[in-house]
Symmetry: C2
Subunit: 137 residues, 2 copies
DNA sequence: CAATACCCTACCAAACAAGTGGACTTCATT
DNA sequence: AATGAAGTCCACTTGTTTGGTAGGGTATTG
């Protein structure tokens, strides 16, 4: 399951996509419009900025805005930044790989199943972008 | 990510599949062979029993064993018992459905993406069974 | 100077991982 | 039958991590 933090991140990003190319947006505006706790949102946006997704401007007339075109950032990327690994096991993660203990000595039966799950999931999340967040079905 | 508990569960089940139809297996034997903390494993097995996956026999000569044929139990089922929802959002979960707050008023952009992810994931996990745990590839 | 992002610390609650102690059940031996 | 060892069963406790909240102070810009 996505953490609430990740869900907030997507909600905030949705707002920022709608305001794309209209200058910086106040944290407080996003917080109000999307009903996200202000201080919590502050941390999330900062994290997204440090990860290169957002840009910010300080002082009067400042705020947050999306760095690159929304179609350039994939949903999978956002999840990795906020929640970490997408894969179900560390030993099948592409970006957060860790060798399983007891996974070499004994035959790791889950391994190939979880690779299949990962590929199926990424097949979707790597092809949807921030722009899709505002496209109604 | 799967919790360590779920990983333990799969490791333990792998052992039980190997010993299927050979009578009850001791918790202590599984704990030793698969390097799982004994008392923790005790709780996991009990949970799997209550969920109808395992059967147990008390007293001397007792132990745990798989209730139905290993090909009858899907991996998705095990994950749901131990870790809960497989879906990434409560509002797209089949077995743990919950209505999202702010998902009705505003357009929930993630919804259909997460349904796609869920279906892709279940397409795999609903077709792999405990028996697959012991089939080397 | 005022508005705003940035940053730091502390705090609370829940979940997770693991361990403890003991009650209850079954079986084999005598 | 009585006994004791071998087992599961189960309610607690403990320590750690994580998710989320709250407040205040600093730096930067118009």
């Amino acid at each position: 399951m996505l953490s609430r933090k990740a869900q907030y991140a997507f909600r905030a990003l949705t707002h920022l996509v709608e305001k794309y190319d209209q200058g910086p947006v106040l944290i407080s505006e996003i917080s109000k419009k999307k009903k996200i706790p202000l201080k919590f949102l502050e941390n999330i946006l900062l994290e997204l900025k440090k990860a290169g997704i957002l840009e910010s401007k300080k002082g009067k007339g400042g705020g947050y805005y999306i760095k690159n075109h929304p179609s350039k950032t994939h949903m999978a990327n956002i999840i990795r930044i906020v929640d970490g690994p997408i894969a179900m096991l560390p030993c099948v993660s592409l970006y957060f790989y860790e060798r399983c203990k007891n996974c070499n000595e004994e035959f790791c039966a889950l391994h190939d199943t979880m690779i299949a799950v990962r590929d199926a999931t990424l097949g979707i999340l790597e092809h949807r972008t921030l722009q899709d967040l505002t496209i109604p079905r």
